[in-house]
């Protein structure tokens, strides 16, 4: 019986907890970028998903070049070495988009909705650029050791009936996400520039009066946002696979994560990311086998005990978004809705 409980927990860890932690980290990094742009530049940036795709694309091209030169990291994916190039490319693209599109509307103090619609235009341009450069197809660019521990190794190691696989990309995702978030919070809390950004987010006019240079705040915001986007995108691509269209689809769960946590609140975006990821995966997972381990034989379920079909995975974040907006529009951590 005790073995059964362990088996049940391993099963759940393998199919729900481990994938959800990795996916949640990716969503959190993406949602952080959305929430920063919303909090500081005051608009919902719909081009964020495709900014991720763009940064990832450059990281992939860099990975291929490194592979051609036979430069690698051994057990770790080569993409880690190429990631800085992807980050730089994403920063350049987002600064160019700001210079050519967003600045124009910001200077004339346009309503946020106009900036948001302009960001849809930027989204389409980035979307097309990615497809032109790398094509619309699926790209796998993971190399190095795929598993930290594979299901088969785990089974023979522990003698359990259920396997638990932990992939290198999943651990890497979590580690990089923790590092990036720690660095971001340190920057926002402890440095002068970070404090300036927070002041600007709180009250633009007061910040101006106290001598904060707005163009510098804008520049920093884009640099941080684009770095987070390229990192999140590359990690997502490593963990799953790169497909330009799926980055566009990520926009919905990322926005849901930012809003659930309270838009404009960095720690809210992180909590929201994990909440969305766990909901998506836990609600569509069939618990039949899990219950078989825990319940006595005569109570074994006949059906799959699946709350939602996997086809509805994407709609989970939509439902959460609607529920939050209806009952607690400021989100879990009291974000701002202007």
């Amino acid at each position: 019986m005790e073995v059964d409980i362990v088996n049940a927990l391993v099963l759940l860890a393998n199919f729900v907890v481990v994938p959800a932690v990795a996916y949640g980290s990716q969503l959190a990094l993406g949602a952080l970028g959305i929430t920063l742009v919303y909090g500081i530049l005051r608009f919902a940036n719909f081009s964020h998903g495709d900014l991720m795709a763009f940064g990832t694309m450059v990281a992939i091209l860099g990975t291929w070049q490194l592979q051609a030169w036979d430069i690698g990291l051994g057990l770790l994916p080569t993409a880690l070495l190429a990631l800085p190039v992807g980050v730089v490319a994403a920063v350049i693209v987002s600064l160019a988009a700001d210079r050519m599109v967003f600045r124009f509307y910001r200077l004339r103090r346009s309503a946020p909705i106009i900036l948001s619609i302009a960001s849809v235009g930027v989204m389409f341009v980035l979307n097309g650029a990615v497809r032109l450069i790398i094509g619309p197809d699926n790209r796998a660019f993971l190399d190095g050791a795929r598993y930290l521990i594979s299901a088969r190794e785990f089974k023979s190691l522990t003698g359990l009936a259920e396997g638990l696989s932990v992939r290198t990309s999943q651990v890497l995702t979590l580690a990089l996400a923790v590092l990036a978030v720690a660095a971001l919070f340190w920057f926002l809390r402890r440095t002068r520039a970070g404090k300036a950004m927070r002041a600007y987010a709180d009250n633009e006019d007061l910040a101006l009066l106290s001598g904060i240079e707005p163009s510098r705040v804008v520049l920093l915001t884009w640099v941080i946002t684009a770095s987070l986007a390229a990192t999140a995108g590359t990690l997502y691509g490593l963990d799953k696979s790169f497909h330009p269209f799926t980055y566009f689809q990520l926009l919905l769960p990322m926005f849901a994560a930012a809003i659930v946590g309270g838009i404009g609140q960095p720690h809210g975006a992180i909590a929201g990311g994990f909440l969305i990821a766990f909901s998506e995966i836990a609600l569509t997972y069939p618990y039949k086998k899990f219950l078989q381990y825990l319940l006595p034989e005569d109570l074994h379920p006949d059906g799959l005990v699946q709350l939602l079909s996997t086809d509805y995975k994407l709609s989970v974040s939509f439902v959460i978004l609607v529920v939050v907006l209806l009952w607690r529009p400021t989100g879990l951590f009291g974000g701002r809705l202007s």
Partner: protein
């Protein structure tokens, strides 16, 4: 008088020149999801037409010319428009096409049958096409997936698989094949624990695999596409340790799968139309000599489809659409003098002399009364990192 005779002769020549060719429509998805396959399929069909033209034996030395049309593979309206043009403006005698099952059904219903034009598809495999109300106008040289489902069930049974999960790509092809397989497998006493569709083009299939694993299935049948969701399903299954070996349908047999997954596929089995018969090899050699990829999917089927149209016209002694229709089954099936690939000249001469022929072509084609091919399937097993043929069904 002399001038009159000259004019008359010139007119006669012009008339006979117009008479001197038979047009065959080549309706394939030159744009769309199979655009990478279509040029080779078209060129294979055109190889047969060229062979007939060069033989000089087709209806007393007439030429056979292809007219291409774009079926797009997925857009039924575009395919119908292209077929309308072929039939009404280019006045083709018959159509070699279309390719994907969905557009093929649309073209058959909206254009081919109403206009009395024969259509021979080299690649539409949906079981639903067998029951098409086509008045004997629709044929195909690719076998129906109803048959592939049976073959797959037999393969699974022979390997002692009794409980299996099925996942299929969410379209006519996947659904038809999954149904055919489930019927045959259950009739043989097996259990399909769960059958779920998967959408192509997603980044992550862990949720689908989780459901299949929870159903209690011990093995997994994947009826998808090698560069699409099918590969994602296999990757996710291996990542989570849910399934180790797979039963694969023709859409999954491709070297890119082996490249992407690697050693972990060892021991998986699959089926795809094809045979190792001398005729198949002969065609491949001839196609490669002509600069084509004869072993690529549906190349041999396209050659045979075009050849059947040409031979039927010869047997009928005219390029009349109805006459061609009435002769297709006669030239494709036994009895008669067997005709292999690259032997169109021989076949045309025999038909001109009134001898009955049995066209076997590159795929050993034999058509059922419904117009389906009953050609063989290869059973593959992944051994030493390669799809190796282990049996012919």
């Amino acid at each position: 008088m002399r001038r009159f005779l000259l004019t008359f002769a010139a007119l006669m020549m012009a008339a006979s020149a117009a008479q001197a060719e038979m047009k065959i429509g080549v309706l394939l998805g030159f744009t769309g999801p199979i655009e990478s396959l279509a040029p080779n399929i078209a060129a294979s069909a055109e190889l047969a037409m060229q062979e007939a033209t060069e033989s000089g034996a087709f209806l007393g030395g007439r030429k056979v010319t292809p007219v291409r049309g774009d079926s797009t593979c997925i857009d039924a309206a575009a395919a119908t428009a292209a077929a309308e043009r072929l039939v009404n403006s280019d006045e083709v005698a018959a159509i070699m096409g279309a390719d994907c099952s969905g557009v093929t059904t649309a073209v058959a219903n909206n254009v081919a049958v109403p206009n009395g034009v024969v259509m021979i598809s080299p690649s539409a495999t949906s079981p639903a096409l067998t029951a098409l109300d086509d008045n004997g106008h629709f044929f195909r040289t690719a076998p129906s997936d109803a048959r592939q489902g049976q073959v797959l069930a037999r393969v699974a049974e022979a390997r002692g698989i009794t409980n299996i999960g099925v996942t299929y790509t969410n379209n006519d092809y996947g659904k038809g094949l999954a149904n055919a397989f489930a019927n045959a497998f259950e009739a043989a006493g097996g259990t399909v624990a769960l059958s779920v569709a998967h959408e192509d083009g997603k980044a992550d299939y862990a949720a689908e695999v989780g459901a299949l694993a929870a159903s209690g299935a011990e093995h997994l049948a994947v009826f998808g596409y090698v560069d699409q969701g099918g590969r994602g399903i296999i990757q996710a299954s291996l990542d989570t340790g849910a399934f180790d070996t797979f039963l694969l349908a023709d859409g999954m047999i491709g070297d890119s799968l082996l490249e992407a997954i690697g050693d972990a596929l060892e021991g998986s089995v699959g089926t795809a139309p094809g045979s190792d018969s001398p005729n198949a090899k002969k065609f491949q050699a001839a196609a490669e000599a002509a600069g084509l990829k004869g072993a690529d999917p549906f190349s041999a089927e396209a050659y045979d489809a075009a050849a059947l149209i040409i031979l039927a016209a010869q047997a009928a002694g005219s390029t009349d659409r109805a006459a061609i229709r009435s002769k297709i089954l006669e030239v494709s099936n036994a009895p008669g003098e067997p005709i292999g690939p690259t032997e169109l000249a021989k076949g045309l001469e025999l038909l001109a002399a009134g001898t009955v022929i049995d066209y076997q072509g590159a795929t050993d084609v034999e058509l059922t009364p419904e117009g389906d091919a009953s050609s063989p399937y290869k059973e593959y097993e992944v051994m030493d990192g390669k799809f190796t043929t282990v049996r012919i069904h």
